[in-house]
């Protein structure tokens, strides 16, 4: 169906995913396939299930049914008192420690400096020696242009700086895949650019990324795959060219019309 992958090695594969909150069916059979080097954007109206889909990848939300493979490894589930749970929590934790998630509201740890935020997961989850983690943290902070803020606490940073720090935190784990959930939606308009620029640079260097965004132009320019979600189903998918300019679905056409 989608023939435009940037490599042959699969990174994240979701097959026929359903997600239900109590009676509310949010995802009704979604499949997604990202190989290494791919940049996949998920677009769609508010409430269409984009965040839920992204959060199912690292199991912040537990899929009601469906298959999930990360880095070629099948995540195993089992039932406990009628509820679906991971079979091996260790497997999930290990998988998560290689997925760098960036949240809409940054979610930096407020009791730690920027540098401590960035070193936290390498030191306390990945068990990287402190000196090495520090070196790596300083390097990624340099990359996102925050070297001078490394000893600041998040509360004293602008939104754009906080989001760049959050990106640095995700980068520091040397992630297999980066997950972005509307990384610029909580930012003042004048701060959006600095964050998109960082994400653009990461895409250019071949990072695998799955990105939920409202920035249509950005999605068009940065991705090699776009997925338009409508009411819990994939309504349109393909290359940016296909989704933005050769749109088949009327709904998708209306939705993306803003960039024409």
């Amino acid at each position: 169906m989608i023939d435009l992958h940037r490599s042959g090695k699969e990174a994240v594969v979701i097959e026929n995913l359903h997600k239900q909150f109590d009676d509310l069916k949010v995802l009704k059979g979604v499949s997604l396939h990202a190989n290494e080097g791919d940049v996949l954007s998920i677009i769609g109206a508010s409430g269409s299930g984009k965040s839920t889909l992204l959060r199912c990848i690292n199991l912040l939300e537990m899929p009601t049914s469906g298959d999930l493979r990360v880095g070629g490894e099948q995540i195993e589930f089992t039932e406990k008192r009628g509820v679906r749970v991971p079979k091996h929590m260790r497997q999930v934790e290990k998988m998560r420690s290689r997925l760098g998630m960036v949240f809409q509201n940054f979610n930096l740890w407020a009791h730690m400096t920027v540098l401590q935020n960035v070193m936290e997961v390498p030191v306390h989850v990945l068990k990287v020696p402190k000196a090495e983690a520090r070196e790596r943290a300083e390097a990624v902070l340099e990359r996102v242009g925050l070297s001078d803020k490394r000893d600041q606490y998040p509360a004293y940073l602008s939104g754009g700086q906080q989001q760049r720090a959050a990106i640095a935190r995700a980068l520091a784990i040397e992630p297999r895949v980066m997950l972005f959930d509307e990384p610029t939606s909580a930012l003042d308009p004048e701060l959006v650019g600095e964050v998109l620029k960082v994400i653009q640079d990461l895409a250019n260097e071949g990072r695998t990324m799955i990105l939920v965004t409202h920035e249509m132009k950005f999605a068009r320019d940065v991705s090699n795959q776009v997925l338009f979600l409508h009411k819990g189903l994939v309504e349109e998918e393909g290359t940016p060219q296909q989704v933005f300019y050769e749109t088949k679905s009327e709904r998708c056409k209306a939705f993306v019309s803003s960039i024409h």
Partner: protein, 229 residues
């Protein structure tokens, strides 16, 4: 005003002060040790355990400390001697003293009041920060140790400072079960010297100094951790 009794009773006041500080610090340490899980289970569940914790806090906070203290001292204190295995155990020499009962009562009190404070503290940590920790593969215990607990404490340090000052000022109740704390020494001095006010003023001064030390210590602690947002 006469203060010439001070040199005579100075050693007694030092002893009393040590008892007061022991009672305060040990009950805070023991009480907080239980307050943390008591607060936590009310937020995380399991439900039934949260209910028990909540019930414990309600009972402790809903009854006067003086009554708890007397119930423990006169209740347990009169029960234990009738139990041979306690009379013969290594604990007996301690249990004949009033201090362990005061320590138990104050620890329970700290656990109850601060359990409630910690419940609010755990709840006040933004969900997103815990979610971020989860998203990076932290285990539940690592999240608690590295993120949740320090973040919760950061939010309630000023509250805890006030709570511990209140605990300090409740310690004279222990004198009612014959614990010779600073207040107990003061009472003794009043009886022996027939001075009414001076000993009271003197121990009031001691409590003010102790309160000042607690306040300054927590201010120092607060300055070491950043203010959240």
């Amino acid at each position: 005003m006469r203060w010439d009794w001070i040199p005579t009773y100075w050693p007694d006041f030092v002893d009393g002060l040590i008892i007061t500080l022991q009672l305060l610090s040990m009950s805070i340490i023991i009480g907080m040790f239980f307050a943390i899980p008591i607060g936590l289970v009310q937020v995380t569940g399991p439900r039934w355990l949260g209910r028990i914790a909540q019930g414990f806090c309600t009972v402790v906070r809903g009854t006067p400390l003086l009554i708890q203290l007397w119930l423990l001292y006169y209740g347990l204190g009169s029960l234990f001697p009738s139990m041979p295995w306690i009379r013969e155990s290594w604990m007996w020499p301690y249990l004949r003293d009033a201090f362990p009962y005061a320590l138990l009562a104050f620890s329970i009190s700290v656990a109850g009041y601060e359990g409630e404070v910690m419940r609010g503290a755990f709840k006040s940590v933004p969900k997103g920060e815990l979610e971020a920790a989860r998203s990076f593969g932290m285990s539940r215990f690592t999240i608690l140790r590295r993120i949740w607990l320090p973040r919760a404490f950061q939010n309630v340090l000023p509250t805890l400072a006030g709570e511990f000052v209140l605990t300090l000022k409740a310690t004279p109740l222990a004198a009612t079960i014959t614990v010779f704390d600073v207040y107990g020494v003061g009472t003794m001095v009043r009886q022996e010297t027939y001075r009414i006010y001076e000993p009271l003023l003197f121990i009031a001064g001691i409590y003010i100094v102790l309160t000042g030390i607690i306040v300054l210590f927590f201010r120092w602690l607060e300055n070491r951790v950043p203010r959240a947002v």
